[in-house]
Amino acid sequence: MQKIFSRPQSLSANPTHYCPGCDHGVIHRLVAESIDELGLAERTIGVAPVGCSVFAYEYFNLDFISAAHGRAPAVATGIKRCRPDSIVFTYQGDGDLAAIGTAEIIHAANRGENITVVFINNAIYGMTGGQMAPTTLVGMKTATSPYGRDASLTGNPIKMSEMIACLDAPAYVTRVTVNTPAALMKTKKAIKNAFQLQKDGKGFSFVEVLCICPTNWGKPPAEAHKWVTDNMIPVFPLGTFRDKHKIEA
């Protein structure tokens, strides 16, 4: 019998604490596969955020550090500047990266730090129980926008990829999702591209993944994945906003 699919090396065997159907698990796997395929495992250092993926370090067989909420890009900068030969990536949610961590991600990107950022945009704060994120859609009801997000009071969802693509330094900025097998393959490619670029010393790479939070959206996974297509993608268009080195070409 030939093995068609099994767990990648860099992904630990620990069961995750994620809710049933949560996309975090699948994206962890794609990151681990990319690292394995590029042979980077032994020199990769991951930076976990504060968010549901705070325990990401439990799920990867890699050197890892857990950063303070929002500061992963600064932590990654410190690591990369002290260990330039290592491959450094951050894995951050939208509260972590687009709210409290805004300054750190913008400036790491603007400096063109040679790191990779995997940005999990599920339009909500998961770990703390479903509060509004800067990425929450207008009208969406959350624990802190019980009447639905009102643009006149709190503005519109913030588009990090577009904003980061305004900066000169970033090498690669792309937005993908995992709500279908096809989309998932694309995301795999994007994440692998990002690490490839870092490996080649090409600078800052940023992959935004539109994800579901079945628990706090109050929707079963399948329905949630459809909701991504119907509601999130229209606001957060998929696509590549920067590809300095034509790696997708």
Partner: protein, 68 residues
């Protein structure tokens, strides 16, 4: 040796694999796992083409797929 192997301790019964299986050969088992979930089970292994779409869709990497 079976084509399709599931680790019931990892499966959280989210049902994603079932929905993604093109051959519709996966279903929900009625027993509860130790964690309190109804794990996915193989209904008809003959029809399974080992495409591994289920495995690749599983957030918990609970499925392994083999081909004869």
């Amino acid at each position: 040796m079976p084509k399709w192997v599931i680790n019931e301790d990892l499966c959280k019964g989210c049902g994603i694999c079932i929905g993604r299986c093109p051959m519709k050969v996966l279903g929900v088992s009625d027993h509860l796992s130790a964690k309190g979930y109804h794990p996915t089970k193989m209904l008809n292994e003959e029809k399974c083409t080992s495409c591994a779409l289920c495995a690749r869709s599983c957030p918990d990497v609970a499925i392994e797929v083999y081909k004869a």
